[in-house]
Amino acid sequence: MSYTRRDFLKATLGASTMLSFASDAPNFLVRAATAGAARTDDRDTVLVVVQMSGGNDGLNTVVPYADDEYGRNRPTLALKGKDVLKIDSYLGFHPRMEAFSRLYEEGHLSILHGVGYPNSDRSHDGAMRDWHTAEPDDPDCQTGWLGRAADNVWHTNQKDTPTVFVGPIVQPFGLRAEHVIIPSIKSLDDLILDSEPAEFQQDRAVDKNDELLRFVRECRARAGVHSRRIEAVTKATGGADYPAFRLAGTLRTVAQLIRADVGIRVFFTELGGGGIGGFDNHANQLGNHCSLLNHLSESLAAFVDDLKKDKQLDRVLLMTISEFGRTVKENGRRGTGHGVSAPIFLAGGKLKGGRVGSHPSLTDLDNGAMKFHTDFRRVYATVLDRWLGFESRPVLGRQYKPLEILNV
């Protein structure tokens, strides 16, 4: 995998940029030499989280069109069997998710049904906070799960940034760390040096007792190398086409950073605006939800296609999260209320594919909403342990049983 990637970099960035690599050992070698305590190996896989803010209506995303209860509960919102993009004789994707349907066929998309957690208070702030902290029982928890993961893999010689937020909104709480600083990237310009001062042609001697100076110098040198690589990637042509959606733009930035290979392992992105709104459709849901799902589906597909074209897809796993699903029954305003469980979507090159778990019952409900059968922390544990190689137990406080969803 590494060979292919360096090959690609050489082809895209040209020989002059490759020269600058010489002064800087490849990331994976450095990582192998300096691996942190909580890392189980030196893999270079990447996780991309897409937060769907507002509470996505899973029932109109992956539609049980053949279930009589579905039509009965949703007189105006129900999508028709003839319109949905069929997965099987019971389920189909929302009609405007053609791209998801294709990714699913290609094995690059998995659906995890019925994900949630016990005792959600079904408020946006409370539930989103629970998904961010992964500590629903501790309302005063001050760190997010990805923040803790970044803290746990930090080591004293770490010169790269392992985790970033990409997007225009306030950094989501899931990235709140105790020690590590997780940057918010609005555009690639944030990672490119305005001007490169004082080039040093020779190695500069450092007193062997002065580890601190050596560390800062190495970070400085690396900043120059990374900046040049990112600049080269932005100038490279021939990338895939992305639609003009905001999330597509964000994921394009993520793909460029994956290509530049600057050591970022976790990207957090967002669709819906961060606050209330977005997927929170209490009234006249149909049109707004439709355009959001189309936005999501087209953006993700462009990202997957882009990475696949560059043979990068095998090192990338994308996961969607949302604070809750919605009520089965529509309300009197052609909308839905806050629910419990919803599906999680995974996209990438190393998925087992297909559907995971059964679709929750539309009649055995928890206060009007479909029950969950898979705790979201099992999904987190799976991506931490099995995908990133970050030990999940210290992050989640206990060992959750991983799901068999990845081909690794």
Partner: protein, 453 residues
């Protein structure tokens, strides 16, 4: 932190006052070092004044502010009181750091802000946050006892840790836990039972409409046990007991050691003990800070450039050295992007700092911030002009400006490779002298050495 293999010095020598001699002369490097630790760097006049004053008088002046400091604080207190937003509070604080006649007080306020770390995003009340940081400032060089007692009843702190209600039937452990594990003893010196005992002592205190109220029927009058002591304890007993515990003064001295002396080597107990024992007798912060600032240790190789500047120290240091100003609204946002969002420390444990401040991404952001500050146009405007400052202090040629800026920002210690690169920068002919001096200043403040304090 990176481990340094330095021999631990003799404590008596370490904490005795530094007196210049032939081996350790009072020079520009030591004056600059002192100003990086006790302030946010120095201007050229301050460095020259320090050279002529000698270390003792320079430290006297840093410890005891000029008369105008009180008026400065009153003025800024009024500005802040009139402010309705935390964004503006952040900007006012940075303005204080840049302009204050008493920088050590702001440096120590920042220390306490990270120690009693309280985050405005949860408090959601600019007035309470202003009072909170005002409290930290009022005792920044005062009494840790008063500081701790005030913090234990500070509305902002109670909201932040989630201790607005302390009922007899359901004692709230949040305040007791923050107080014992983070603000005083540290997690290794108390048990969950101690925390439960202390939380019962806090019962009866409620925060109602941002005001602290005591409801006596909600106070648990039973006997409590805290750290081996038994009694019908109330709130003030808890802070008293914390201050009686030797772990508290040891922990505070260690923390201040890494703030003022060195982040790299964990000091051994013998070095900490004399200061901790003395601090425990009066909890006089000024005295403790004074001992450290005057010490042989501070002026030894074991302390020289053994800290990484926080983003605020980095940026404010550039502005103060160049005798200018900066849009602090913009600066507050840029510092937040670098991980130091004033009024928003990440957790109750404050900023971890040290090597956590720096990685390749942070270095790009620091270099771009320095570039924006020094460019003479853009969001920071033209408030810093290195060439004008160099001329003001007698430089007439590019070469003299190069030497001047190196002395101003770094006070020596650079190798010939760095010197050659900087000489090339100032000799570039494609820019006018003002532009070249801007490039040179940028080249200097982005050297690894400048990121160290």
């Amino acid at each position: 932190m990176v481990g340094q293999t330095e021999k631990q010095p003799d404590p008596r020598w370490a904490w005795a006052a530094y007196e210049p001699d032939a081996d350790r002369p009072w020079n520009l490097a030591r004056a600059g070092h002192l100003y990086r630790r006790a302030a946010f760097g120095a201007s050229w006049e301050q460095l020259q004044q320090a050279l002529s004053d000698g270390p003792q008088l320079t430290i006297d002046k840093l410890l005891q502010p000029k008369a105008e400091a009180a008026q400065f604080d009153r003025t800024y207190d009024e500005y802040e009181t009139a402010t309705g937003s935390v964004d503006q509070l952040r900007a006012w604080w940075l303005r204080r750091m840049i302009l204050t006649p008493h920088p050590l007080q702001e440096k120590m306020t920042l220390f306490w802000h990270s120690h009693f770390a309280t985050n405005a995003a949860k408090v959601k009340n600019a007035r309470l946050m202003q009072q909170h940081v005002g409290l930290l400032r009022s005792q920044a060089l005062g009494s840790f006892r008063i500081l701790l007692e005030s913090i234990s009843q500070d509305p902002a702190v109670l909201i932040w840790v989630g201790a607005e209600a302390n009922r007899k039937a359901r004692p709230n452990e949040n305040l007791a836990r923050a107080l014992m594990e983070t603000f005083t003893l540290g997690p290794d010196h108390c048990t969950d039972d101690d925390i439960r005992g202390a939380s019962r002592a806090f019962t009866g205190w409620f925060l109602l409409r941002s005001k602290l109220r005591y409801i006596s029927r909600e106070h648990d009058n039973g006997e409590k046990q805290i750290l081996g002591r038994k009694g019908n304890f109330a709130r003030d007993d808890v802070t008293r007991i914390m201050l009686e515990e030797p772990a508290t003064s040891r922990r505070l001295v260690r923390k201040l050691y890494s703030w003022l002396i060195s982040e790299t080597a964990g000091p051994d107990e013998a070095l900490i003990s004399p200061l901790a024992e003395s601090f425990a007798t009066d909890y006089d912060v000024l005295k403790l800070v004074e001992t450290m600032l005057r010490s042989n240790l501070l002026f030894s190789a074991a302390a020289y450039r053994r800290r990484i500047k926080s983003p605020a120290e980095f940026a404010v240091g550039i502005v103060r050295a160049l005798e200018g100003s900066a849009s602090t609204t913009q600066l507050a946002t840029d510092l937040a992007d670098l991980g130091q969002d004033l009024y928003h420390p990440p957790t109750v444990k404050g900023w971890a700092g040290g090597q956590h401040w720096i990685n390749s991404t942070a270095m790009v952001a620091r270099q771009n911030l320095a570039s924006a500050l020094l460019r003479g146009s853009g969001p920071y405007g033209n408030k810093l002009n290195p060439w004008a400052v160099a001329q003001k202090h007698g430089c007439a040629t590019p070469e003299s400006a190069r030497r001047f800026l190196l002395d101003l920002f770094l006070q020596g210690g650079l190798d010939s490779v760095a010197h050659d690169a900087l000489t090339k920068t100032i000799r570039q002919q494609d820019e006018d002298l003002e532009g070249r001096t801007r490039s040179l200043a940028h080249a200097i403040v982005t050297l690894a050495e400048f990121h160290l304090a």
